[in-house]
Protein backbone atom coordinates (compact mmCIF):
# COMPACT_ATOMS: atom_id res chain seq x y z
CA UNK A 1 0.00 0.00 0.00
CA UNK A 2 1.40 3.41 -0.92
CA UNK A 3 0.63 6.16 1.50
CA UNK A 4 1.36 9.86 1.26
CA UNK A 5 1.26 12.05 4.34
CA UNK A 6 1.07 15.83 3.99
CA UNK A 7 2.87 17.41 6.93
CA UNK A 8 3.28 21.09 7.62
CA UNK A 9 5.94 22.89 9.60
CA UNK A 10 4.30 25.51 11.83
CA UNK A 11 5.39 28.06 14.39
CA UNK A 12 4.41 27.11 17.91
CA UNK A 13 1.44 29.43 18.39
CA UNK A 14 1.75 29.28 22.18
CA UNK A 15 5.10 31.10 21.93
CA UNK A 16 3.81 34.06 19.93
CA UNK A 17 4.03 37.47 21.56
CA UNK A 18 2.39 40.64 20.33
CA UNK A 19 4.60 43.65 19.64
CA UNK A 20 2.85 46.36 21.60
CA UNK A 21 4.07 49.29 19.49
CA UNK A 22 3.12 47.91 16.08
CA UNK A 23 0.33 45.65 17.35
CA UNK A 24 1.64 42.83 15.19
CA UNK A 25 2.37 39.25 16.19
CA UNK A 26 6.10 38.55 16.32
CA UNK A 27 6.58 35.47 14.13
CA UNK A 28 10.35 35.49 13.76
CA UNK A 29 12.47 33.49 16.15
CA UNK A 30 9.54 31.36 17.31
CA UNK A 31 10.25 27.64 17.69
CA UNK A 32 8.92 25.56 14.81
CA UNK A 33 7.43 22.11 14.87
CA UNK A 34 5.37 19.71 12.82
CA UNK A 35 1.72 20.67 13.11
CA UNK A 36 0.44 18.41 15.90
CA UNK A 37 -2.25 16.50 14.05
CA UNK A 38 0.06 15.74 11.11
CA UNK A 39 1.92 13.44 13.49
CA UNK A 40 -1.34 11.63 14.10
CA UNK A 41 -1.69 11.34 10.32
CA UNK A 42 1.80 9.80 10.06
CA UNK A 43 1.13 7.47 12.99
CA UNK A 44 -1.97 6.19 11.21
CA UNK A 45 0.06 5.72 8.04
CA UNK A 46 2.61 3.66 9.96
CA UNK A 47 -0.15 1.49 11.43
CA UNK A 48 -1.54 0.86 7.95
CA UNK A 49 1.90 0.02 6.65
CA UNK A 50 2.47 -2.40 9.52
CA UNK A 51 -0.63 -4.23 8.37
CA UNK A 52 -0.28 -4.11 4.59
CA UNK A 53 3.38 -3.26 3.90
CA UNK A 54 4.13 -0.60 1.34
CA UNK A 55 5.76 2.79 1.43
CA UNK A 56 5.12 6.05 3.25
CA UNK A 57 6.16 9.34 1.68
CA UNK A 58 5.82 12.61 3.59
CA UNK A 59 5.40 15.79 1.59
CA UNK A 60 5.96 19.26 2.93
CA UNK A 61 5.71 22.66 1.34
CA UNK A 62 7.93 24.68 3.61
CA UNK A 63 11.05 26.71 4.20
CA UNK A 64 14.50 25.09 4.09
CA UNK A 65 14.58 24.45 7.85
CA UNK A 66 11.58 22.13 7.44
CA UNK A 67 14.15 19.51 6.41
CA UNK A 68 14.97 19.01 10.08
CA UNK A 69 11.29 18.43 10.80
CA UNK A 70 11.03 15.92 7.96
CA UNK A 71 13.91 14.01 9.55
CA UNK A 72 11.78 13.64 12.68
CA UNK A 73 9.03 12.12 10.58
CA UNK A 74 11.47 9.75 8.87
CA UNK A 75 12.63 8.69 12.33
CA UNK A 76 9.05 8.01 13.34
CA UNK A 77 8.66 5.65 10.41
CA UNK A 78 8.16 7.43 7.09
CA UNK A 79 10.31 6.00 4.28
CA UNK A 80 10.98 9.05 2.18
CA UNK A 81 10.51 12.79 2.36
CA UNK A 82 9.73 15.43 -0.24
CA UNK A 83 10.36 19.10 0.44
CA UNK A 84 9.04 21.81 -1.84
CA UNK A 85 10.01 25.40 -1.02
CA UNK A 86 7.42 28.11 -0.51
CA UNK A 87 7.32 30.49 -3.47
CA UNK A 88 7.83 34.21 -2.72
CA UNK A 89 4.11 34.75 -2.62
CA UNK A 90 1.80 31.96 -1.60
CA UNK A 91 -1.65 31.20 -0.35
CA UNK A 92 -3.82 28.13 0.15
CA UNK A 93 -4.38 27.79 -3.57
CA UNK A 94 -0.67 27.64 -4.26
CA UNK A 95 0.20 25.29 -1.40
CA UNK A 96 -2.58 22.86 -2.27
CA UNK A 97 -1.70 22.93 -5.96
CA UNK A 98 1.97 22.24 -5.20
CA UNK A 99 0.99 19.36 -2.92
CA UNK A 100 -1.39 17.93 -5.52
CA UNK A 101 1.26 18.20 -8.26
CA UNK A 102 3.86 16.57 -6.01
CA UNK A 103 1.42 13.75 -5.30
CA UNK A 104 0.91 13.27 -9.04
CA UNK A 105 4.65 13.17 -9.52
CA UNK A 106 5.01 10.54 -6.78
CA UNK A 107 2.47 8.78 -8.91
CA UNK A 108 1.39 5.67 -7.10
CA UNK A 109 -0.75 6.19 -4.07
CA UNK A 110 -3.67 4.52 -2.36
CA UNK A 111 -4.17 6.77 0.63
CA UNK A 112 -3.30 10.43 1.19
CA UNK A 113 -3.41 11.45 4.84
CA UNK A 114 -3.70 15.00 6.16
CA UNK A 115 -4.41 16.52 9.53
CA UNK A 116 -7.93 17.74 10.26
CA UNK A 117 -6.42 21.24 10.45
CA UNK A 118 -3.03 22.86 10.95
CA UNK A 119 -2.28 24.32 14.37
CA UNK A 120 -1.17 27.73 13.12
CA UNK A 121 -3.86 28.65 10.61
CA UNK A 122 -6.47 26.06 11.52
CA UNK A 123 -8.34 26.07 8.22
CA UNK A 124 -8.90 22.41 7.48
CA UNK A 125 -8.78 23.47 3.88
CA UNK A 126 -5.80 21.75 2.32
CA UNK A 127 -7.01 18.13 2.60
CA UNK A 128 -10.39 18.50 0.83
CA UNK A 129 -8.81 20.94 -1.60
CA UNK A 130 -6.24 18.36 -2.69
CA UNK A 131 -9.03 15.79 -3.04
CA UNK A 132 -10.90 18.26 -5.25
CA UNK A 133 -7.80 18.98 -7.34
CA UNK A 134 -7.08 15.28 -7.83
CA UNK A 135 -10.77 14.45 -8.15
CA UNK A 136 -10.60 11.56 -5.71
CA UNK A 137 -12.92 10.75 -2.84
CA UNK A 138 -12.41 12.24 0.60
CA UNK A 139 -13.09 11.18 4.15
CA UNK A 140 -12.67 13.98 6.67
CA UNK A 141 -12.43 14.05 10.48
CA UNK A 142 -11.60 10.36 10.77
CA UNK A 143 -11.33 9.26 14.39
CA UNK A 144 -10.67 5.66 13.45
CA UNK A 145 -9.57 4.09 10.20
CA UNK A 146 -9.65 0.49 9.09
CA UNK A 147 -7.71 -0.08 5.89
CA UNK A 148 -8.43 -3.32 4.08
CA UNK A 149 -6.98 -4.66 0.87
CA UNK A 150 -9.26 -2.90 -1.54
CA UNK A 151 -11.25 -0.48 0.59
CA UNK A 152 -11.07 1.58 3.71
CA UNK A 153 -13.71 2.31 6.33
CA UNK A 154 -13.49 5.19 8.73
CA UNK A 155 -15.51 6.53 11.57
CA UNK A 156 -15.87 10.29 11.21
CA UNK A 157 -16.39 12.63 14.12
CA UNK A 158 -19.05 15.02 12.89
CA UNK A 159 -19.81 16.62 16.25
CA UNK A 160 -23.44 15.86 16.87
CA UNK A 161 -23.10 12.55 15.06
CA UNK A 162 -20.58 9.98 14.05
CA UNK A 163 -20.64 8.83 10.45
CA UNK A 164 -19.05 5.61 9.23
CA UNK A 165 -17.91 5.89 5.62
CA UNK A 166 -16.29 3.54 3.19
CA UNK A 167 -14.26 4.24 0.10
CA UNK A 168 -12.24 2.41 -2.49
CA UNK A 169 -8.71 3.62 -3.26
CA UNK A 170 -7.36 6.16 -3.91
CA UNK A 171 -8.82 8.24 -1.12
CA UNK A 172 -7.81 11.30 0.85
CA UNK A 173 -8.38 11.04 4.59
CA UNK A 174 -8.07 13.79 7.19
CA UNK A 175 -7.63 12.59 10.77
CA UNK A 176 -8.47 14.04 14.17
CA UNK A 177 -6.15 14.31 17.15
CA UNK A 178 -8.02 11.54 18.92
CA UNK A 179 -7.33 8.86 16.30
CA UNK A 180 -4.10 7.64 17.93
CA UNK A 181 -1.11 8.54 20.05
CA UNK A 182 1.88 9.37 17.81
CA UNK A 183 4.92 7.27 18.68
CA UNK A 184 8.23 8.69 19.83
CA UNK A 185 11.15 7.46 17.74
CA UNK A 186 13.88 5.47 19.45
CA UNK A 187 17.50 6.57 19.31
CA UNK A 188 18.16 3.83 16.76
CA UNK A 189 15.39 5.14 14.57
CA UNK A 190 16.66 8.69 14.86
CA UNK A 191 20.11 7.57 13.74
CA UNK A 192 18.62 5.39 11.01
CA UNK A 193 16.63 8.28 9.60
CA UNK A 194 19.84 9.94 8.43
CA UNK A 195 20.03 7.36 5.63
CA UNK A 196 16.51 7.89 4.39
CA UNK A 197 16.12 10.14 1.35
CA UNK A 198 14.68 13.66 1.42
CA UNK A 199 14.03 14.88 -2.12
CA UNK A 200 13.98 18.59 -2.70
CA UNK A 201 11.80 19.43 -5.65
CA UNK A 202 11.73 22.88 -7.12
CA UNK A 203 8.47 24.56 -7.92
CA UNK A 204 9.10 24.87 -11.64
CA UNK A 205 9.46 21.11 -11.98
CA UNK A 206 5.91 20.77 -10.70
CA UNK A 207 3.92 23.64 -12.13
CA UNK A 208 4.47 27.03 -13.75
CA UNK A 209 2.61 30.30 -13.61
CA UNK A 210 0.92 29.91 -10.24
CA UNK A 211 -0.58 33.10 -8.86
CA UNK A 212 -2.10 33.47 -5.41
CA UNK A 213 -5.87 33.89 -5.25
CA UNK A 214 -5.82 35.56 -1.86
CA UNK A 215 -3.84 38.52 -0.65
CA UNK A 216 -3.14 39.10 3.03
CA UNK A 217 -3.66 42.80 3.55
CA UNK A 218 -2.73 42.93 7.19
CA UNK A 219 -1.98 40.78 10.21
CA UNK A 220 -3.27 42.36 13.41
CA UNK A 221 -2.08 41.15 16.79
CA UNK A 222 -4.63 40.43 19.48
CA UNK A 223 -3.16 40.73 22.93
CA UNK A 224 -4.86 39.48 26.03
CA UNK A 225 -4.26 41.37 29.22
CA UNK A 226 -5.36 39.73 32.42
CA UNK A 227 -4.90 40.64 36.06
CA UNK A 228 -3.00 37.43 36.88
CA UNK A 229 -3.77 37.59 40.61
CA UNK A 230 -3.03 34.16 42.04
CA UNK A 231 -3.94 33.07 45.57
CA UNK A 232 -1.67 30.31 46.81
CA UNK A 233 -1.62 29.92 50.52
CA UNK A 234 -4.38 29.17 52.97
CA UNK A 235 -7.26 27.74 50.99
CA UNK A 236 -10.12 29.27 53.01
CA UNK A 237 -8.39 32.61 52.75
CA UNK A 238 -7.90 32.24 49.00
CA UNK A 239 -11.51 31.29 48.42
CA UNK A 240 -12.69 34.22 50.52
CA UNK A 241 -10.52 36.69 48.60
CA UNK A 242 -11.60 35.29 45.24
CA UNK A 243 -15.29 35.58 46.12
CA UNK A 244 -14.82 39.15 47.36
CA UNK A 245 -13.08 40.10 44.14
CA UNK A 246 -15.73 38.48 41.98
CA UNK A 247 -18.45 40.28 43.90
CA UNK A 248 -16.57 43.56 43.50
CA UNK A 249 -16.25 42.93 39.76
CA UNK A 250 -20.00 42.41 39.66
CA UNK A 251 -19.92 39.02 37.99
CA UNK A 252 -21.66 36.92 40.60
CA UNK A 253 -25.18 37.36 39.30
Amino acid sequence: MNIIVCAKQVVDASEIKIDSSSNKPILEGIPKKISDIDKNALEEAIKIKEKHNGKITVVTVGSADAKERIKELLAMGADEGVLIPYPDKYDYHIVSTLLAEAIKKIGEYDIILCGEASTDLFSGQIGPKIAGLLDISQITYAQSVNAEKDKVTAERNMGEKSVTSESSYPVLITVTKEINEPRLPSLMQILGAANKPINEWDIESLVVGLEPKIKTVELKGVSMDRKNIVFENNLDDSVGKLVDNLAKDGVLG
Partner: protein, 318 residues
Amino acid sequence: MVLVYSDNKKLTFELLSKGSELAKDLGKKSTALIIGKNDDLLANEYISYGADNVFVAESDIDSFKAEEYAEILEKVINETGKDTILIGSNKNGKELASRLAGKLNAGCIVDCTNIYLKDNKITTERVVYSGNAISVEQFNSKPRILTISSKVFEPLKKDANRKGEIVKKKIETGKSSSKILKIKEAVTEDVNVEDADIIVSCGRGFKNKGDIKLANELADVLKGRTIGCSRPIAADLKWMSEDHWIGLSGHKVKPKLYIATGISGQIQHIAGMRDSGVIVAINKDPDALIFKSADYGIVGDLYEVLPKLTSAIKDKMS
Protein backbone atom coordinates in the same frame (compact mmCIF):
# COMPACT_ATOMS: atom_id res chain seq x y z
CA MET B 1 -23.59 37.71 -7.67
CA VAL B 2 -23.80 36.16 -4.22
CA LEU B 3 -24.77 32.53 -3.75
CA VAL B 4 -25.56 31.42 -0.21
CA TYR B 5 -25.63 27.81 0.93
CA SER B 6 -25.79 25.91 4.18
CA ASP B 7 -27.50 22.68 5.17
CA ASN B 8 -28.42 24.45 8.39
CA LYS B 9 -31.44 26.70 7.97
CA LYS B 10 -30.65 29.13 10.77
CA LEU B 11 -27.11 29.53 9.52
CA THR B 12 -28.44 30.22 6.03
CA PHE B 13 -30.55 33.05 7.48
CA GLU B 14 -27.41 34.55 9.01
CA LEU B 15 -25.46 34.24 5.78
CA LEU B 16 -28.33 35.77 3.83
CA SER B 17 -28.18 38.84 5.99
CA LYS B 18 -24.52 39.44 5.06
CA GLY B 19 -24.91 38.11 1.52
CA SER B 20 -27.78 40.37 0.62
CA GLU B 21 -26.01 43.37 2.13
CA LEU B 22 -22.87 42.69 0.05
CA ALA B 23 -24.94 42.13 -3.08
CA LYS B 24 -26.83 45.35 -2.53
CA ASP B 25 -23.69 47.39 -1.92
CA LEU B 26 -22.33 46.11 -5.20
CA GLY B 27 -25.62 46.62 -7.02
CA LYS B 28 -26.14 42.89 -7.51
CA LYS B 29 -28.49 40.13 -6.35
CA SER B 30 -28.26 37.40 -3.75
CA THR B 31 -29.47 33.86 -4.30
CA ALA B 32 -30.09 31.19 -1.69
CA LEU B 33 -29.37 27.63 -2.77
CA ILE B 34 -31.43 24.61 -1.76
CA ILE B 35 -30.03 21.19 -2.61
CA GLY B 36 -32.30 18.15 -2.70
CA LYS B 37 -36.05 18.07 -2.81
CA ASN B 38 -38.04 21.05 -3.94
CA ASP B 39 -39.27 22.85 -0.83
CA ASP B 40 -41.39 25.94 -1.53
CA LEU B 41 -41.92 26.61 2.13
CA LEU B 42 -38.19 26.80 2.78
CA ALA B 43 -37.59 28.78 -0.41
CA ASN B 44 -40.14 31.38 0.66
CA GLU B 45 -38.62 31.51 4.10
CA TYR B 46 -35.21 32.27 2.56
CA ILE B 47 -36.79 35.08 0.58
CA SER B 48 -38.41 36.49 3.69
CA TYR B 49 -34.95 36.49 5.30
CA GLY B 50 -33.37 38.52 2.53
CA ALA B 51 -32.68 36.31 -0.50
CA ASP B 52 -33.45 38.07 -3.78
CA ASN B 53 -33.87 34.67 -5.45
CA VAL B 54 -33.80 31.01 -4.59
CA PHE B 55 -32.23 28.31 -6.73
CA VAL B 56 -33.44 24.79 -6.03
CA ALA B 57 -30.95 22.21 -7.28
CA GLU B 58 -33.18 19.17 -7.41
CA SER B 59 -31.32 15.97 -6.73
CA ASP B 60 -32.05 12.48 -5.41
CA ILE B 61 -28.98 12.39 -3.21
CA ASP B 62 -30.25 11.43 0.21
CA SER B 63 -27.35 12.32 2.43
CA PHE B 64 -24.48 14.75 2.32
CA LYS B 65 -21.33 13.69 0.54
CA ALA B 66 -18.78 16.38 -0.22
CA GLU B 67 -17.88 14.86 -3.58
CA GLU B 68 -21.44 15.00 -4.86
CA TYR B 69 -22.38 18.30 -3.27
CA ALA B 70 -19.26 19.99 -4.64
CA GLU B 71 -20.24 18.78 -8.09
CA ILE B 72 -23.74 20.20 -7.66
CA LEU B 73 -22.35 23.54 -6.52
CA GLU B 74 -19.96 23.64 -9.44
CA LYS B 75 -22.87 23.11 -11.82
CA VAL B 76 -25.04 25.69 -10.09
CA ILE B 77 -22.21 28.22 -10.27
CA ASN B 78 -21.80 27.57 -14.00
CA GLU B 79 -25.53 27.80 -14.51
CA THR B 80 -26.07 31.01 -12.53
CA GLY B 81 -22.76 32.77 -13.09
CA LYS B 82 -22.44 33.50 -9.38
CA ASP B 83 -18.97 34.62 -8.34
CA THR B 84 -19.19 35.01 -4.59
CA ILE B 85 -20.13 31.88 -2.71
CA LEU B 86 -20.96 32.05 1.00
CA ILE B 87 -21.07 28.66 2.69
CA GLY B 88 -22.06 27.90 6.28
CA SER B 89 -18.98 26.86 8.21
CA ASN B 90 -20.09 23.69 9.92
CA LYS B 91 -18.12 20.50 9.35
CA ASN B 92 -20.00 19.63 6.13
CA GLY B 93 -19.76 23.19 4.86
CA LYS B 94 -16.03 23.47 5.41
CA GLU B 95 -15.08 20.32 3.54
CA LEU B 96 -17.55 21.22 0.81
CA ALA B 97 -16.14 24.73 0.36
CA SER B 98 -12.54 23.51 0.34
CA ARG B 99 -13.21 20.74 -2.16
CA LEU B 100 -15.13 23.14 -4.37
CA ALA B 101 -12.22 25.58 -4.24
CA GLY B 102 -9.95 22.76 -5.43
CA LYS B 103 -12.28 21.87 -8.29
CA LEU B 104 -12.68 25.49 -9.40
CA ASN B 105 -9.10 26.58 -8.72
CA ALA B 106 -10.64 29.29 -6.59
CA GLY B 107 -9.55 31.25 -3.56
CA CYS B 108 -11.26 30.18 -0.38
CA ILE B 109 -11.27 31.82 3.04
CA VAL B 110 -12.71 29.75 5.87
CA ASP B 111 -14.28 30.90 9.12
CA CYS B 112 -14.55 34.59 8.33
CA THR B 113 -15.33 36.59 11.44
CA ASN B 114 -16.05 39.74 9.44
CA ILE B 115 -16.72 40.59 5.80
CA TYR B 116 -16.89 44.10 4.39
CA LEU B 117 -16.09 46.18 1.35
CA LYS B 118 -12.85 48.12 1.37
CA ASP B 119 -11.89 50.05 -1.74
CA ASN B 120 -14.92 48.30 -3.20
CA LYS B 121 -13.22 44.93 -2.66
CA ILE B 122 -14.61 42.12 -0.58
CA THR B 123 -12.40 42.03 2.49
CA THR B 124 -12.44 39.39 5.21
CA GLU B 125 -11.08 38.92 8.68
CA ARG B 126 -10.29 35.63 10.31
CA VAL B 127 -8.64 34.47 13.50
CA VAL B 128 -5.21 32.83 13.12
CA TYR B 129 -2.42 31.60 15.41
CA SER B 130 -4.89 30.32 18.02
CA GLY B 131 -6.37 33.73 18.61
CA ASN B 132 -3.10 35.67 18.70
CA ALA B 133 -3.81 37.48 15.45
CA ILE B 134 -6.45 38.47 12.95
CA SER B 135 -5.64 38.11 9.29
CA VAL B 136 -7.23 40.64 6.94
CA GLU B 137 -7.50 39.21 3.43
CA GLN B 138 -8.77 40.05 -0.03
CA PHE B 139 -9.42 38.02 -3.16
CA ASN B 140 -7.30 38.51 -6.29
CA SER B 141 -9.68 36.58 -8.49
CA LYS B 142 -13.11 35.08 -8.91
CA PRO B 143 -14.92 32.96 -7.94
CA ARG B 144 -14.51 33.76 -4.30
CA ILE B 145 -15.49 31.16 -1.74
CA LEU B 146 -16.06 32.15 1.88
CA THR B 147 -17.23 30.14 4.86
CA ILE B 148 -18.87 31.65 7.91
CA SER B 149 -19.68 30.03 11.26
CA SER B 150 -22.93 30.42 13.11
CA LYS B 151 -23.48 33.50 15.27
CA VAL B 152 -21.06 35.69 13.30
CA PHE B 153 -23.83 37.68 11.64
CA GLU B 154 -27.33 38.48 12.88
CA PRO B 155 -30.13 37.34 10.60
CA LEU B 156 -32.34 40.06 9.12
CA LYS B 157 -35.79 40.47 10.55
CA LYS B 158 -38.19 38.15 8.82
CA ASP B 159 -40.35 40.03 6.32
CA ALA B 160 -43.04 37.93 4.65
CA ASN B 161 -43.68 40.72 2.14
CA ARG B 162 -40.31 40.31 0.46
CA LYS B 163 -40.65 39.00 -3.07
CA GLY B 164 -38.28 36.85 -5.04
CA GLU B 165 -38.07 34.36 -7.83
CA ILE B 166 -37.75 30.63 -7.24
CA VAL B 167 -35.90 28.72 -9.95
CA LYS B 168 -35.89 24.93 -9.97
CA LYS B 169 -33.54 22.76 -11.92
CA LYS B 170 -32.68 19.09 -11.82
CA ILE B 171 -28.97 18.62 -11.33
CA GLU B 172 -27.40 15.25 -12.10
CA THR B 173 -24.20 14.12 -10.48
CA GLY B 174 -21.84 11.23 -10.85
CA LYS B 175 -21.68 8.72 -8.03
CA SER B 176 -18.92 9.22 -5.54
CA SER B 177 -16.73 6.24 -4.76
CA SER B 178 -17.31 6.74 -1.06
CA LYS B 179 -20.31 5.35 0.70
CA ILE B 180 -21.98 6.06 4.03
CA LEU B 181 -22.40 2.87 6.02
CA LYS B 182 -23.82 4.13 9.27
CA ILE B 183 -24.84 7.34 11.00
CA LYS B 184 -24.93 7.37 14.76
CA GLU B 185 -26.51 10.38 16.38
CA ALA B 186 -24.55 11.39 19.46
CA VAL B 187 -26.39 12.31 22.60
CA THR B 188 -26.35 16.04 22.94
CA GLU B 189 -27.46 17.78 26.04
CA ASP B 190 -28.63 20.84 24.17
CA VAL B 191 -26.49 23.19 26.19
CA ASN B 192 -25.63 26.43 24.58
CA VAL B 193 -22.27 27.58 25.91
CA GLU B 194 -22.08 30.37 23.35
CA ASP B 195 -24.95 32.25 24.96
CA ALA B 196 -24.04 31.47 28.56
CA ASP B 197 -23.41 34.26 31.03
CA ILE B 198 -21.33 32.21 33.41
CA ILE B 199 -19.43 29.05 32.54
CA VAL B 200 -17.74 26.56 34.84
CA SER B 201 -15.42 24.55 32.64
CA CYS B 202 -13.88 21.16 33.38
CA GLY B 203 -10.58 19.67 32.23
CA ARG B 204 -8.58 16.51 32.70
CA GLY B 205 -7.94 17.48 36.31
CA PHE B 206 -11.18 15.63 37.04
CA LYS B 207 -10.44 12.01 37.77
CA ASN B 208 -13.85 10.49 37.08
CA LYS B 209 -16.92 11.35 35.10
CA GLY B 210 -19.00 11.36 38.28
CA ASP B 211 -16.80 14.06 39.83
CA ILE B 212 -18.09 16.59 37.29
CA LYS B 213 -20.95 17.03 39.75
CA LEU B 214 -18.60 19.24 41.78
CA ALA B 215 -18.56 21.67 38.87
CA ASN B 216 -22.31 21.29 38.45
CA GLU B 217 -22.86 22.23 42.07
CA LEU B 218 -20.80 25.38 41.67
CA ALA B 219 -22.62 26.22 38.45
CA ASP B 220 -25.91 25.69 40.23
CA VAL B 221 -25.28 28.44 42.78
CA LEU B 222 -24.24 30.84 40.02
CA LYS B 223 -26.85 32.38 37.81
CA GLY B 224 -26.68 31.90 34.05
CA ARG B 225 -24.91 28.66 34.78
CA THR B 226 -23.55 26.33 32.17
CA ILE B 227 -20.88 23.69 32.19
CA GLY B 228 -18.15 23.66 29.59
CA CYS B 229 -15.13 21.45 29.04
CA SER B 230 -11.79 21.05 27.32
CA ARG B 231 -11.36 18.94 24.20
CA PRO B 232 -10.14 15.74 25.90
CA ILE B 233 -13.19 15.62 28.18
CA ALA B 234 -15.52 15.65 25.16
CA ALA B 235 -13.42 14.08 22.42
CA ASP B 236 -11.26 11.46 24.19
CA LEU B 237 -13.12 10.60 27.37
CA LYS B 238 -16.59 11.45 26.10
CA TRP B 239 -17.67 12.42 29.60
CA MET B 240 -19.60 15.34 28.16
CA SER B 241 -21.28 15.88 24.81
CA GLU B 242 -19.57 18.00 22.21
CA ASP B 243 -21.85 20.96 22.76
CA HIS B 244 -19.83 21.63 25.94
CA TRP B 245 -16.47 21.64 24.13
CA ILE B 246 -14.70 25.01 24.23
CA GLY B 247 -11.66 26.05 22.25
CA LEU B 248 -10.09 26.46 18.87
CA SER B 249 -11.84 23.39 17.50
CA GLY B 250 -14.87 23.73 19.76
CA HIS B 251 -17.19 26.56 20.72
CA LYS B 252 -16.04 30.16 21.11
CA VAL B 253 -17.52 31.68 24.24
CA LYS B 254 -17.57 35.07 25.93
CA PRO B 255 -19.40 34.80 29.23
CA LYS B 256 -18.96 37.53 31.82
CA LEU B 257 -17.38 34.92 34.12
CA TYR B 258 -15.37 31.86 33.04
CA ILE B 259 -14.11 29.46 35.69
CA ALA B 260 -11.56 26.95 34.37
CA THR B 261 -11.07 24.01 36.71
CA GLY B 262 -8.44 21.35 36.16
CA ILE B 263 -7.59 22.82 32.77
CA SER B 264 -3.92 23.30 31.89
CA GLY B 265 -4.46 26.34 29.67
CA GLN B 266 -3.02 25.18 26.36
CA ILE B 267 -3.40 27.85 23.72
CA GLN B 268 -6.02 25.84 21.83
CA HIS B 269 -8.28 25.98 24.85
CA ILE B 270 -7.59 29.67 25.45
CA ALA B 271 -8.54 30.38 21.83
CA GLY B 272 -12.14 29.54 22.68
CA MET B 273 -12.52 31.60 25.86
CA ARG B 274 -10.08 34.49 25.60
CA ASP B 275 -12.86 37.02 25.08
CA SER B 276 -14.52 36.18 28.41
CA GLY B 277 -15.15 38.97 30.90
CA VAL B 278 -13.44 37.70 34.05
CA ILE B 279 -11.41 34.50 33.91
CA VAL B 280 -10.79 32.38 37.02
CA ALA B 281 -8.44 29.39 37.09
CA ILE B 282 -8.31 26.57 39.60
CA ASN B 283 -5.33 24.29 39.20
CA LYS B 284 -3.09 22.38 41.57
CA ASP B 285 0.03 23.16 39.59
CA PRO B 286 1.34 26.67 40.43
CA ASP B 287 3.14 26.76 37.07
CA ALA B 288 0.08 25.85 35.02
CA LEU B 289 -0.21 28.00 31.91
CA ILE B 290 -3.82 28.77 32.66
CA PHE B 291 -2.79 31.27 35.36
CA LYS B 292 -1.18 33.43 32.66
CA SER B 293 -4.57 33.72 30.97
CA ALA B 294 -6.57 34.32 34.13
CA ASP B 295 -7.59 37.32 36.17
CA TYR B 296 -7.77 35.31 39.37
CA GLY B 297 -6.33 31.95 40.20
CA ILE B 298 -6.37 29.56 43.10
CA VAL B 299 -3.55 27.08 43.37
CA GLY B 300 -5.11 24.02 44.88
CA ASP B 301 -6.75 20.66 44.46
CA LEU B 302 -10.07 21.15 42.74
CA TYR B 303 -11.58 18.45 44.93
CA GLU B 304 -11.00 20.74 47.91
CA VAL B 305 -11.43 24.10 46.22
CA LEU B 306 -14.72 23.52 44.43
CA PRO B 307 -16.86 22.57 47.48
CA LYS B 308 -15.43 25.51 49.44
CA LEU B 309 -15.95 27.92 46.59
CA THR B 310 -19.52 26.71 46.08
CA SER B 311 -20.45 27.26 49.69
CA ALA B 312 -18.64 30.63 49.90
CA ILE B 313 -20.51 31.91 46.85
CA LYS B 314 -23.77 30.58 48.21
CA ASP B 315 -23.15 32.53 51.45
CA LYS B 316 -22.15 35.66 49.60
CA MET B 317 -25.23 35.61 47.40
CA SER B 318 -27.79 34.95 50.09
